[in-house]
Symmetry: C2
Subunit: 211 residues, 2 copies
């Protein structure tokens, strides 16, 4: 099981402050449900979630919603990662959030002259790599063709991450449906079958795989 990389690996508070000074980083607080956006003119910016949780969401004109990604403490996001898509995306705070913004080119160029910045760049690469791995998992999920398979795949992934056949669902079923890009009622129906056919146990959001 791969270790989840930390953007602040080997950084204490003092080093972090120094680094943020070198990179002219800005830290901003967002309230729950607030939209997170930040711009340094035309420059590419990276957001680091220091505290709290956020999500990348697409709203359809129909009111339909898709949860594209979730960001927890230590996760990074960037408008660079989404710039050329075909729909309007937004990043929203789920809980109160602290987000630090760093200029991308600044981070790279400073790495040549500052040991601290280079160390941070190394951490950044590990984190972005891990981000890519997560995206891949997401694509694997979404390319399964039935709700049943999406559910089972999602559950298996959670079980794997939790190193146990039992785990707690972090999503509401409403959100899970948007995450798996399926209709909620259809998801509930499939969940019911999975329980009836003894594939899983579901004791209010605590899932156990029975196979």
């Amino acid at each position: 099981m791969p270790i989840i990389p930390n953007i602040y690996q080997n950084f204490d508070d003092k080093m972090r402050r120094k680094l943020y000074n070198i990179l002219s980083a800005k830290t901003i607080l967002y309230k729950a449900n607030q939209m997170i956006s930040y711009s340094m003119g035309k420059r590419n910016v990276i957001g680091i979630v220091e505290q709290g949780q956020a999500r990348m969401i697409r709203y359809e004109y129909t009111g339909e919603r898709a949860i594209l990604d979730e960001f927890n403490e230590g996760d990074i996001f960037s408008d660079m990662f989404v710039e050329s898509g075909f729909s309007e995306l937004s990043v929203e705070a789920i809980t109160n959030c602290t987000v630090t913004f760093i200029d991308y080119e600044e981070m790279i160029s400073k790495a040549e002259s500052s040991k601290l910045a280079l160390q941070f760049l190394n951490n950044f690469i590990h984190v972005i790599n891990h981000t890519l791995v997560k995206r891949n998992e997401r694509i694997e999920l979404l390319t399964t063709r039935t709700i049943r398979n999406k559910l089972l795949s999602y559950f298996e992934l959670q079980a794997k991450k939790n190193n146990s056949k039992t785990f707690n669902l972090k999503y509401s079923y409403t959100d899970l449906a948007d995450y798996l890009a399926v209709d909620r009622s259809a998801l509930m129906r499939e969940l019911k079958s999975l329980k009836e056919e003894k594939f899983i146990l579901d004791v209010n959001k605590k899932i156990t795989l029975l196979y």
Copy 2:
């Protein structure tokens, strides 16, 4: 429109050879349809497609297939992506391929002592960033809920990339169905409706958006 970053930006042949020497890179030739795999023991490895095309594919025990990603010249992939999910993935050469393998940790650690390695690392970051953008597009595609929307989204993306309402499909419809993770006959049916309802023109694989 973003410039597609090149992993060899500012590298001439001589520099490239020197770099590969520093990083102990290995270049391997694969025949069309061959499976691409390589291992440096337990270390994480990055593959760079030098020539040709390859794909990441999942085969279901049912014989069902999903195309997860396509790699062209200059694209990178990693065993980290392949091994993390819940299903067996493989990378396959579509055409004859030359692939260079680099040790991930080696690439990062050498950047501290070698200017050349640092320059390469910078290029790598730009490329992986771009990879992330592509993955995001893919996720956006897959989170649309009908075949019609998947098709239109895919077409719009191609049109955007081609800077024109008209473009040539690079996939066969069989492959496109596996790429969009839907049934081929259902895709053909939907395509037919789109033509009949004058949303698109399709003159053998040359698509024109009519809206």
